[in-house]
């Protein structure tokens, strides 16, 4: 099933907005995570971990899901397909893995917010390296996915190659 050009452009725009938006929010989280580690101000440190959980629920998770869904629409509605090209499969794997890790990580956000909200907890106990590590890995994943989208490196999967051999030379999908 191939989308009409106008619809394809609309779907592509939605996919770029959600995916690059996700990358931007992850960059923001990395900045926050670093502030949580280096800030001398106890209130700022607590604030960082308190703000992470709701921001993740209201911004990060919706963008991750939107990126995945619009990516699926984009690949299935165009001749690129979902499993024909390695770069598309790689992006799908990065997206699915990142979304699952993010959803699992929500528990950690909640835990850190709980510690930050506890006035008896020492500020050094509130500080946590975990968001720095996870946001860095998420950034790398998003950067790889974005680079793949722009360069679209050559390479058909076994499935894509078989499909190409079966496709008549004259007609195109």
């Amino acid at each position: 099933m191939t989308m009409a050009p106008r619809l394809r452009k609309l779907a592509l725009t939605a996919h770029i907005i959600s995916s690059v938006g996700w990358l931007g929010v992850v960059a923001g989280f990395l900045g926050l995570a670093v502030v949580g580690i280096i800030s001398e101000d106890a209130q700022t440190v607590r604030g960082v971990y308190l703000v992470m959980e709701p921001t993740a629920w209201y911004v990060l998770v919706p963008l991750a899901v939107a990126s995945l869904l619009t990516g699926l629409v984009q690949s299935l509605g165009t001749p690129w397909g979902l499993f024909r090209h390695y770069w598309v499969v790689t992006k799908l794997l990065i997206n699915v893995a990142s979304t699952i890790i993010l959803l699992t990580y929500m528990q950690t956000f909640s835990f850190m917010a709980g510690v930050a909200a506890d006035p008896s907890a020492d500020v050094d106990l509130v500080r946590n390296m975990s968001p720095v590590i996870h946001a860095t890995l998420a950034m790398l994943g998003s950067l790889v996915a974005t680079t793949l989208s722009v360069f679209k490196p050559r390479g058909l999967t076994r499935y894509g190659w078989r499909q190409q051999q079966e496709r008549p030379t004259v007609s195109r999908p």
């Binding site: 394809r8 001749p79 690129w80 950690t108 390296m129 050559r154 190659w161 030379t169």
Partner: protein, 71 residues
């Protein structure tokens, strides 16, 4: 206007692959990085006694040393 099929044909090398299917080097490199990250995760799980949840990077890794390093 450049058609999507033209873009795909260019990505496939301006034509069809005549040689049998081969996995590109960049896929192998990314695959190896993914395996290394997965192994690192497994090692961390084993070191942490099977735990990789909340608090994993707080008490057990010595946050004060990490703070000093980043400052």
């Amino acid at each position: 206007m450049v058609e999507m099929n033209d873009v795909i044909d260019k990505a496939e090398g301006n034509g069809r692959y005549q040689s049998p299917h081969r996995t590109p080097i960049w896929v192998k490199v990314l695959g190896m990085i993914a395996v290394v990250l997965l192994l690192l995760f497994v090692v961390l799980m084993l070191v942490g006694g099977g735990e990789h949840g909340p608090g994993r990077h707080t008490a057990s890794t010595g946050i004060t040393e990490n703070v000093a390093f980043l400052r």
